[in-house]
């Protein structure tokens, strides 16, 4: 029993320090259609252009296929399709994101944006008026001076 107690204690401690040190979170931002999305930089592995994608017949519509990232098989997801954003062409840029315990996953995106430092306390709920994409995969929004940054719920996107 004592062991369990100590474990809890440690977790509490960790949370304390992390909040104190990290006042801001670094976000990688990118564009798909008219939307600006954000993913915590800690989850992004790399950005890659024009990697050969091998289609996997019979897979879901939003899965473009698989690709070879230095010997690892990486699944490529058409994020626009997953988020139900209406796009004329399939984007070509690969944003490769870690997937805990599994091989990484790549989202194809249109254009990479700035690296942003955001303050977690200023994160807001997803507004009702947001339209043109399926909101269930957006965790929070963050008001930038000129645009609304949509923070993606990576875990949900990957698992569902």
């Amino acid at each position: 029993m004592e062991l369990v107690k100590k474990e809890n204690l440690e977790i509490v401690k960790k949370e304390d320090t992390s909040i104190k040190v990290a006042d801001t979170i670094t976000m990688v931002s990118f564009y798909i259609g008219d939307f600006l999305f954000g993913i915590p930089a800690s989850q992004v592995m790399e950005i890659n252009k024009e990697i050969d994608i091998t289609p996997v017949p019979l897979s879901d519509e939003h899965i473009l296929g698989i690709m070879n990232l230095r010997g690892q098989i990486v699944t490529v997801m058409d994020l626009a399709k997953k988020l139900k954003i209406d796009l004329k062409v399939t984007p070509k840029l690969n944003l490769i994101v870690k997937d805990e315990g599994e091989s990484p996953i790549s989202f194809v995106i249109e254009e990479i944006g700035e690296i942003l430092e955001i303050t977690p306390s200023k994160l807001e709920k997803v507004p009702d008026k947001l339209e043109g994409l399926s909101k269930e995969y957006i965790k929070n929004v963050y008001q930038l001076p000129d645009k609304l940054l949509l923070i993606l719920d990576i875990e949900k996107i990957v698992k569902e």
């Binding site: 062991l3 369990v4 996997v56 017949p57 897979s59 698989i66 690709m67 098989i73 699944t75």
Partner: protein, 863 residues
């Protein structure tokens, strides 16, 4: 008490190691109770377990370890004998320790359960009983005994306290420490072994594997570039890099290999417990424990093996009484054997029990509706045995607690097939059962056939591959409903078009390549665009998005860095719309004969050399492959190729037979012929296909050394080649075995009605130095036998006038020849036939085309 998670982990790891040491030790001890070394080791292990659990405050664990240690110390000092009840309770203690450890692993605390406390009481009482027994014995070492007694008293006190779950234990510990010091003293000094092994995280090894694979690809690119620049120094460096890379990859592969002993060693305990529970006596032999396998396979093979061993003891081996009645030794033998064979690991489970009752299977098959009465009568022994692997089929009359735990043989088979392996049963009623499991050495790298559909490549694991056929889809495929079928030597095989399964859009090129696949249950044909060569591929798992697509089992990275999906043959077979049974019904109704008659048939491989067509039994060919013309090199005046790191001489038939020969070609097909580890290749223009047919040939016009005869097949004259003669013409020493020829030439009488086999067998017997007389049936053979002197008879079974069975009977009935050795050669492979001919008095039974085995058998019988 506070302690770190890490330390607890260390404790758990150590405890688990300890447990397996204990288990092995106890079994060894039972075999040889005098092994003092084992006892000392057991004592030490138990002692450190006790110490560690005391440190963590796992009191129940500590107590169990303590009492066990106590019993062990008495054993070690020779105060008591390792009788069955002693070993039993110690093993039980190990079981509880195991249980507690796994509970701690999950919950971080000790379990509080009545059954554990009950056992603790039992253990403590047992210990007490032993103590009294020891005291009753005449005392030899009085001085020591006195101290011992005092200690025992104090310990008794302590034991009571534990039973009452009183936490205060300081006193006990003190006493124990005193005692331990005394006990440790007479032990031999612990020999320090140099550390040759370290523990490495498997993930790290997997990552290394990955990187090595990548390095190979990068190396390939560098090699290509260096070839372009033609810089000598660069080329040399690249060569070195290349060599090192290959070596490194191989070494890393090896790190994943583990001896199969790591699971085999768990079986002595299981067998012991099971045999005891069932009142049987079983002697388990482990063979080939050092055979290495990929660790992931080792893990996966454990459960199926356990199940098979359970079956062998439960259903196979008889009770001691039964065995004695049958004239067998009381103790049943169970052999667990592993060895490597041709890139695969074979595991055999061999028992000398009662064997499987085929009649019972037949009865059950009808009862449970697996087969109709007529089908059962027609079915071969193999087909009947395979029923065991069907879901819902079990031969045990009563499901016992041990082997009937809801997992059947169907699960065993499925699990083995999942590993890319196969399973086979052979049984002889009254003599025993042999189960043979073949599994690949590693799951990570498998040989696969690369095919295409549209622009993409797909890999098909070689284990599922039966054969390749070139078809004309319009002519050769039949359609029933929406499903297409192909008739392969009388067997109806459903055909899938890969492009349709994959729903690839657009009309792809005409598909003429039919890949016949074996799902383990049945055959299916897969029509693909193109077929590439066979390659060794590294299997990589697909992400979670593809788990519900049954047709893939992974992906692989090809030499050019592109990806290919690996097809799952069982998954593909789900796309077959109609069952074969329905088709057979349709066709039976239309009066089309599906099954070929029981007539003797062989499968021929047809091939062209220049404009001539040839045939050879496919069983004689070890491999088919394509080579480029520039791969043929001249060495020592002979043409050779380097094939799979081996120098293989190539033979051009036109050099030995009056042929026009081949025009120059960019690439050639090669038929490989292997015997006794020697391989040669026969060059041909192209492979026409295979054909199952009777071995009828016409002799005369074309007959000459190297040609057995001819026949018109598909409107073309086809020459049947005698490969043994041709190779002998190429190299007269090829078949000569380094055994001194006997002075007296042995005479063999050969009875064989097929001129094809007659010619071939005669030629290779003569080549091996025997004198051979040929006859065309049993009657002729019998007449010849009575008029000449022979040392051995070789006979076919199916012959006109008098068949082989009759001939054996006649020969054995005649007083002059009843002892002449008889070898039966046949193409009818089957256990029942074998048994029949051996019962009739034949000395051996061989398959016709297996020259090597036949010669070996002749040698044995004539020596």
């Amino acid at each position: 008490m506070n302690f770190d998670e890490d330390i607890l982990q260390d404790f758990l790891v150590e405890a688990k190691e300890g447990i397996s040491k204990l288990e092995e030790g106890f079994i060894e001890l039972e075999k040889d109770p005098k092994k003092i070394g084992v006892l000392k080791e057991l004592f030490r292990t138990m002692h450190s377990l006790k110490g560690a659990s005391g440190f963590f405050g796992f009191k129940t664990l500590e107590s169990i370890a303590h009492f066990s240690e106590d019993i062990l110390s008495k054993l070690r000092d020779g105060l008591i004998e390792p009788e069955e009840d002693v070993v039993d309770i110690l093993l039980k203690a190990v079981d509880y320790i195991k249980y507690i450890i796994s509970y701690i692993e999950e919950n971080k605390v000790e379990p509080v359960e009545d059954k554990i406390l009950d056992f603790l009481v039992e253990l403590s009482n047992f210990n007490e009983k032993l103590r009294k027994k020891v005291q009753e014995k005449p005392k030899e070492r009085i001085g020591e005994e006195k101290i011992e007694e005092k200690l025992e008293e104090k310990k008794e006190e302590a034991e009571k306290k534990i039973e009452e779950k009183i936490e205060e234990k300081k006193e006990v510990k003190l006493v124990k420490e005193v005692k331990e010091e005394k006990e440790e003293a007479p032990l031999s000094p612990h020999v320090e072994l140099a550390e040759t092994h370290i523990k490495v995280d498997v993930k790290l090894l997997d990552q290394l594997m990955n990187l090595a694979g990548e390095l190979v690809l990068a190396r390939n690119r560098v090699v290509q570039l260096s070839q372009k620049t033609m810089d000598e120094e660069l080329t040399r460096s690249v060569q070195i890099l290349s060599m090192i890379t290959t070596e490194m990859q191989e070494t890393i592969m090896k790190t994943r290999m583990q001896p199969i002993g790591s699971i085999f060693n768990k079986f002595p305990r299981i067998v012991r417990d099971l045999a005891k529970a069932l009142g049987k006596k079983v002697n388990l032999h482990l063979e080939g424990t050092e055979t290495e396998l990929d660790r992931s396979i080792i893990e996966a093979i454990k459960d199926p093996l356990t199940h098979l061993i359970r079956n062998a003891i439960d259903h196979g081996i008889e009770t001691p009484e039964e065995r004695v009645m049958l004239g067998k030794p009381e103790e049943g033998n169970l052999i667990l054997r592993a060895y490597q064979e041709g890139g695969q690991v074979v595991i055999e489970i061999d028992d000398d029990g009662g064997g499987i009752d085929i009649e019972k299977i037949k009865k059950k098959a009808v009862e449970k509706g697996f087969m109709s009465f007529e089908e059962v009568e027609r079915a071969s022994e193999k087909e009947l045995l395979n029923l065991i692997f069907k879901p819902g089929f079990s031969t045990a009359e009563t499901v016992t607690q041990l082997s009937g735990r809801g997992v059947g043989m169907d699960v065993v088979k499925a699990n083995i097939e999942k590993l890319g392996g196969s399973i086979e049963i052979n049984t002889i009623r009254g003599k025993g059962t042999n189960i043979k499991i073949k599994i690949p050495l590693t799951l990570a790298i498998i040989p696969a056939l690369i095919v295409t559909s549209g622009d993409y490549r797909y890999a098909i694991p070689q284990v599922n591959l039966k054969e390749l056929v070139n078809v004309d889809p319009d002519k050769d495929l039949l359609k029933v409903g929406n499903t297409e079928f192909y008739r392969l030597r009388g067997e109806i095989i459903p055909v899938l078009r890969l492009s349709e399964v994959l729903k690839v859009n657009g009309k792809s090129e005409e598909q003429r390549n039919l890949v016949i696949l074996n799902t383990g249950e049945r055959f299916i044909g897969l029509l693909v665009d193109r077929i590439f060569a066979s390659e060794e591929i590294v299997v990589k798992p697909l992400g979670r998005w593809f788990k519900n697509i049954p047709i893939y089992s992974g992906a692989t990275i090809m030499g050019d860095g592109k990806l290919a999906l690996i097809l799952d043959v069982v998954g593909l077979s789900q796309f077959v719309g109609i069952s074969i049974e329905e088709i057979e019904k349709t066709y039976e109704g239309a009066g089309i004969k599906i099954k070929t008659s029981a007539q003797e048939t062989i499968i021929l491989l047809l091939f062209d050399v220049g404009e001539e067509r040839f045939a050879i039994p496919i069983a004689l060919i070890s491999r088919l492959d394509k080579i480029k013309a520039n791969e043929i090199k001249i060495s020592g005046g002979k043409e050779i190729i380097i094939y799979r790191d081996e120098v293989v001489p190539v033979i051009r038939l036109e050099n030995y037979l009056p042929l026009k020969g081949m025009p120059l070609q960019e690439s050639y097909n090669v038929l490989f012929f292997t015997e006794r580890g020697k391989t040669c290749g026969i060059l041909c223009t192209n492979i026409v296909g295979t054909l199952e047919t009777t071995p009828e040939i016409e002799e005369g016009i074309y007959t000459q050394p190297g040609i057995l005869g001819h026949r018109i097949i598909n409107g073309k004259t086809t020459l049947f080649i005698d490969i043994y003669k041709i190779i002998e013409m190429y190299d007269p020493d090829w078949f000569i075995v380094k055994v001194e020829k006997e002075k007296v030439v042995k005479r063999i009488l050969l009875a064989e009605d097929s001129p094809f086999f007659r010619g071939m067998i005669k030629n290779y017997l003569v080549g091996a130095g025997y004198e051979v007389e040929t006859t065309e049936n049993g009657k002729e053979a019998l007449n010849r036998l009575f008029s000449g002197k022979f040392d051995l008879i070789i006979t076919d079974l199916e012959m006109p006038e008098m068949d082989g069975f009759e001939l054996i009977k006649e020969v054995r009935a005649s007083p002059d020849y009843k002892n002449i050795p008889i070898i039966v050669v046949t193409s009818l492979a089957g256990e029942d036939v074998r048994r029949k001919v051996l019962d009739l008095g034949a000395n051996a039974y061989e398959v016709k085309l297996n020259r090597e085995k036949l010669l070996e058998e002749i040698g044995r019988l004539l020596s």
